[in-house]
Symmetry: C2
Subunit: 211 residues, 2 copies
Amino acid sequence: MKVYHINEVSAMDSNFRRNFINSLTGFKSVGLIGTVSEAGRTNLAIFSQIFHVGASPALIGVLFRPNTVTRHTLDNILSTRSFTINHICESFVTAAHQSSARYADDESEFDATGLTAEFTSAVNAPYVKESVIKLGLRLAEHQTIRINQTELVIGEVKEIIVPDDCVLNDGFVDLEKAGTVTSSGLDSYHKTSKIVRLTYAKPHQTPRPIG
Amino acid sequence: MKVYHINEVSAMDSNFRRNFINSLTGFKSVGLIGTVSEAGRTNLAIFSQIFHVGASPALIGVLFRPNTVTRHTLDNILSTRSFTINHICESFVTAAHQSSARYADDESEFDATGLTAEFTSAVNAPYVKESVIKLGLRLAEHQTIRINQTELVIGEVKEIIVPDDCVLNDGFVDLEKAGTVTSSGLDSYHKTSKIVRLTYAKPHQTPRPIG
């Protein structure tokens, strides 16, 4: 077991530190965010800082680091107030990862990666046709994290596209059945296998497996 | 494939909706947060709204829903300005889940779940001895999400405890080797198997597998 103190972390090579620190939160919710510019150009970018904010209303948060390639996505969300989140499956992990390349302003990541844009009437942003679980969102709030100027975008879910047989009777969505992958660090992708679902925890009772 | 619109989601039974919406972000970073009260009582609670905020300085964010059992954790962080995040392994998933039960104010979740508190000199909060990867943090920022009064806490990483053989030459931490689990929805736990690590994406080049 090794113990790192903050002064050792500060002294690390910056690439080493980026890989190291990005690994520490654990496995992440990774998805492709689809947007469209005011001029109508589609954009697609991979994000792993996606998290649940609330169920009623249904809110999802995304963090944007300042001054990165993902800036197109943020600009588009702020102008159209719309975006999609598309779960990633093993079959298109490489294309999804490729969407993080720094393409020129006049290139769409859909063309560049071979993924297919599709639209519904509910949201002014492209979905990824190849994705199995997809969410359409409307911008609900935008704040800046003061300590490092990271931008927090919160979207309200307007539309949810999910296979019928992945939604269980109690509302739980079987992501494993849908083939959703998870990520770790900056560049690693993983599939999952279920250990257990557990009943709601109450004091002095051991939770029981569900299903 | 089923398409849900927001008005159907709003009309859902509240338990169904909670399970459903909590599933939609994908697999999550789940960890045990250890804190201590001003009176010296240890507290432990499971969280799945944990995310990377920045690498330099090393910052991690945690969301706290208002008016829940997790309030003890937030109160302790605000008073001691310290907390730990402890990765969960398959061997103690049930104990970790059990930490979410609504224990009385004079009970410690360490005693109730059988997990073991341990301390270092770097941070005024208990680690979970059984955990393999553990982070000690100091409160760096605290904001309220206006739209639903969720509280965002950002901690600066002060200490990192991780097995030597899980840190690769480029800084990437092999969470799978450490046995870190991921969660989905409110109550499901999963182990992972690696699909691939991919090289940094550049326009018009296909990313290659690493390692």
